[in-house]
């Protein structure tokens, strides 16, 4: 394929190819998707490493994300400033982890971060309750939410401290056959 594109230098594209699970074409495609969110903010020339950050509202309006109940957490986890405002690097990183080629452990790590609402490196009961409510649109009764949270902690907590650490989470994900296919956004 001819290197007719002038958006990135060859070194930049090579670096992206090594740091993500995308091929050159996919990286360019993703760049255009990123640019489509705000054509006036994103320049067509990234060879000079411009510092462009798209606000969370634009990211959250993408068709792949706009109906996802966890979109805010996803944006927060993958953005460098933790607020959901993403640079192109963050954008590529996010879709690389959520692509089908990312390995299980990497996805498990980020999934853990997404479900950890208070960022304390543990999924405690309140995190679980928030997750459950987002999953079911607050339609379960308080009782049912409590029962399910208890069951989850029962099943997954190995070190018996009443909350899930990264290892508990990963240990549980290892036994989940669907995880790779559900933690996956096609773009």
């Amino acid at each position: 394929m001819g290197n007719k594109q002038t958006i990135f230098t060859t070194q930049q594209l090579d670096a992206y190819q090594d740091c993500t699970y995308f091929t050159r074409k996919e990286i360019l495609r993703l760049f255009y998707r990123y640019r489509d969110l705000a054509p006036q903010l994103v320049p067509l020339d990234y060879t000079s490493h411009p510092d462009v950050k798209l606000p969370y509202e634009l990211i959250g309006s993408m068709p792949e994300l706009k109906d996802n109940p966890f979109r805010q957490r996803i944006a927060e986890v993958f953005s460098e400033d933790g607020e959901g405002n993403m640079t192109l690097d963050d954008f590529l990183d996010m879709f690389s982890v959520l692509s089908e080629m990312a390995p299980r452990d990497l996805k498990a790590y980020y999934a853990f971060k997404i479900y950890d609402f208070n960022n304390d490196d543990f999924i405690c009961k309140s995190d679980l309750e928030k997750t459950l409510n987002k999953l079911t649109r607050n339609e379960l009764t308080e009782d049912e939410v409590r029962m399910v949270c208890e069951k989850v902690i029962d099943e997954a907590d190995l070190d018996n401290d009443g909350r899930l650490s990264l290892e508990d989470f990963q240990h549980m994900i290892v036994r989940a056959p669907d995880f790779l296919s559900t933690f996956h956004i096609r773009i």
């Binding site: 190819q17 993500t20 109940p69 390995p103 399910v148 997954a156």
Partner: protein
């Protein structure tokens, strides 16, 4: 946590700040990367400062590992680029021999990337499947993926058959190679005149198209048209009977390999996860949400789904508790009721079988009738099978209501019954055909004495069997089309536009995955069973499945509402392929039996001079040069096979031992993990107690220093 990450984005000292819980990292710090297993890659938690020191000592494999693992590290892009830069700068340090291997690995990766980009264009129906998966979930998508797999399988099978049987036949026929006749058996057996006589009414062509008779019978479509040409001119020799049989055998082997390869990946996932139901809730909460769900409607539905699943699970728990509290008398009643219902459903299924056998008998007796009535008689077996496959599962569903199995077991039992019904109904049809062709295996009865088969009714029995399979395939397709037009679209229109209670209760149709998959398996089994007798059947099936894809897609998007009960896609993929394998086994039995036991027709086909289809292999074997014959004899002899067999047994024992060792070590590691947790708790408690005992001494020491 996040502020730490933002601190030194491009510093070279990339330590483990991206990794939470420093105090817990002690255990994982010892984990090495090395040759990472692709399924469960270990994180390389070692910091790059350590790596820089070890760079010269590491061999070149580690270099490639590091580069490949940059992208599997949980760091921000800027950090990853920094790491990569550091590694790039390390390259000149490596010696020339190592750098060649490293470059070789890098170019290999580039090649893989390029080939992936290239193959991107060849994937069939990628966008449609994406849309289906986003809107209806993984279960429905797995049906369409399965359909696509069958389309590709049938297409490549057709290419195989076309290349080795069809094209040579066309070539030899147009060239006009003679066929070898020898009328050693009475000319009665060789009487076969499929060409229609006299004036033919125009609509007869249409009827012939539907039933494979008339002008279609003596065509490339059926076995009877192929000649037993054995061309030998100069250096080129081509033996059509051998090619025909060899292609059929290879076709079966090819399909088996494709299925096993596809099952392998599904099976690995099932085995690795142990298939246990422990962790049901946590899995549902953490892996239940499908991130590729698109659209507002789909999301709402997914949420309702999860809601429903959780409620069902909680309900199952309550039921289990109640079931455990049943008295003995109630238990006995429940089990006896279940046995009774099981017997009843079996009786229903066998009644359906009997109906199919009757229909086939009647249809064969009335064959040769003219007009529309004749067409109906021709299609009687297909009608009976379709009716049976529709009515019996409905009744079995009602029976299942009485049986009161837990919900997951109900699904499995219903599936097993449907599979049994479908595959066995085809088997019954074939059995009935066989009993008529070979006079129930009795070669001494009047009709079968002369030619070893019933030559009066079946001058070319292979073509007749091929016609039956052709009719089944066609009827299946027509029924789908008719149901789509006459049932599904009107149902949606009625439900959407009328507001009567009945319409709301009936509701929009649901896309039920298991029964649709069984329809596909049934269609494919028919094709496999008929491939020997109707070589173009894979092509017809390819076209049929392509149309079916679009029909089902249209009906999915316009007429169906997504199912409330989800279908676990990963486990069910394996199950679909297993059922397909069963169908393949049935077709294999049919093929092997007709190859070896039934005498080929004298009047038609490539095997008319042989006493059984199989005997073409020994016949051509003896025409091989002497050395090849001796070699093949040697391979088949005891001197070669016995050591091979012993080696095979030893290999199997080794693998079984290896598997059990792995299983044991996994269990041991799990135990060790639990024990470490308990050790940690014990140590923490000890520290607390020691603190309580010695606080004053500690404080004094602190103040003094």
């Amino acid at each position: 946590m996040t502020s730490e990450r933002a601190q030194n984005p491009s510093s070279n000292e990339v330590s483990q700040t991206g990794f939470p819980g420093e105090q817990q990292s002690l255990r994982l710090r010892g984990v090495s990367s090395g040759a990472s297993d692709q399924n469960y890659p270990q994180f390389n938690w070692r910091s790059t400062s350590e790596e820089e020191e070890e760079e010269e000592d590491e061999d070149e494999d580690e270099n490639c590992e590091e580069t490949r693992e940059i992208r599997s590290r949980p760091m921000h892009m800027a950090l990853k680029r920094a790491v990569r830069q550091v590694q790039e700068m390390q390259v000149p340090v490596v010696s020339s021999g190592k750098s060649w291997k490293w470059r070789h690995a890098k170019s290999l990766r580039k090649l893989k990337n390029n080939s992936r980009e290239f193959l991107y264009f060849f994937v069939l129906w990628r966008k449609s499947l994406q849309k289906i998966g986003g809107n209806f979930g993984g279960g429905v998508q797995s049906y369409f993926l399965f359909l696509r797999f069958l389309v590709v399988l049938n297409f490549f099978s057709f290419l195989l058959i076309a290349g080795f049987v069809l094209i040579p036949s066309i070539v030899f026929r147009s060239v006009g190679s003679s066929t070898g006749y020898s009328g050693f058996v009475g000319s009665q057996c060789m009487k076969y005149d499929p060409n229609p006589q006299g004036l033919i009414v125009f609509y007869k062509y249409f009827l012939d198209l539907l039933s494979g008779t008339g002008f279609m019978e003596y065509s490339y479509l059926f076995y009877g048209f192929y000649n037993n040409t054995m061309v030998e001119s100069g250096n080129f020799s081509y033996n059509i009977p051998l090619a025909y049989l060899g292609t059929a055998a290879f076709y079966f082997a090819f399909c088996l390999i494709c299925m096993i390869a596809r099952m392998g990946s599904a099976f690995r996932v099932t085995v690795a996860t142990g298939g246990s139901t422990v962790g049901n809730y946590s899995m549902m909460v953490f892996t239940g949400w499908d991130y590729s769900c698109l659209g507002d409607q789909a999301t709402k539905l997914k949420q309702k789904n999860i809601n429903y699943q959780l409620q069902v699970d909680l309900e199952e728990q309550r039921l289990k508790r109640r079931a455990a509290e049943l008295t003995l008398g109630q238990k006995v009643l429940l089990y006896s009721l279940r046995v009774l219902m099981g017997v009843l459903s079996l009786a229903l299924i066998f009644a359906a079988f009997y109906g199919i056998a009757l229909a086939t008998d009647f249809s064969q007796q009335k064959s040769g009738q003219e007009g529309i009535l004749g067409l109906i008689f021709e299609y009687l077996p297909s009608i009976a099978i379709t009716a049976g496959n529709f009515v019996v599962p409905l009744l079995c569903d009602q029976i299942a209501l009485v049986e009161k199995y837990p919900p997951s077991n109900t699904v499995i039992v219903a599936l097993l019954r449907s599979v049994f019904l479908r595959l066995m109904s085809l088997g019954i049809l074939l059995y009935t055909l066989w009993s008529q062709i070979t006079c129930e295996g009795d070669t001494d009865s009047a009709a079968c004495k002369l030619c070893y088969y019933n030559h009066g009714d079946y001058p070319c029995w292979e073509t007749r069997v091929g016609q039956e399979m052709y009719k089944l395939t066609l009827f299946d397709f027509l029924i789908h089309f008719a149901v789509l037009i006459l049932v599904e679209f009107p149902r949606r229109m009625v439900v959407d536009n009328s507001s009567s209670k009945l319409a709301q209760w009936v509701g929009r149709q649901e896309f039920v995955v298991p029964s649709n998959v069984l329809v596909l398996v049934y269609g494919q089994t028919v094709v496999w069973a008929g491939a020997l007798f109707c070589p173009l059947l894979p092509l017809i099936n390819t076209v049929k499945f392509v149309f079916l894809f679009y029909f089902k897609k249209i009906t999915l998007f316009y007429n169906c509402r997504p199912a409330l009960k989800t279908f676990r896609s990963t486990k069910s993929n394996f199950f679909f392929l297993l059922v397909l394998l069963l169908g393949w086994g049935l077709a294999l039995v049919v093929m092997i039996y007709s190859l070896s036991e039934i005498h080929p027709s004298f009047g038609c086909g490539p095997f008319r001079l042989f006493s059984s289809m199989w005997s073409v292999f020994p016949a051509s074997f003896y025409s091989l040069p002497q050395t090849s014959q001796e070699f093949l004899f040697f391979i088949g002899s005891q001197a070669f096979l016995t050591p091979l067999f012993v080696l095979f047994i030893v290999g199997m024992c080794y693998f079984i031992a290896l598997a059990s060792v792995y299983g044991k070590s996994v269990a041991l590691l799990r135990e060790q993990q639990k024990r470490e947790v308990r050790d940690k708790q014990f140590l923490v408690k000890q520290i607390e107690e020691l603190k309580k005992l010695h606080p004053p001494i500690d404080n004094a020491a602190v103040y003094e220093s």
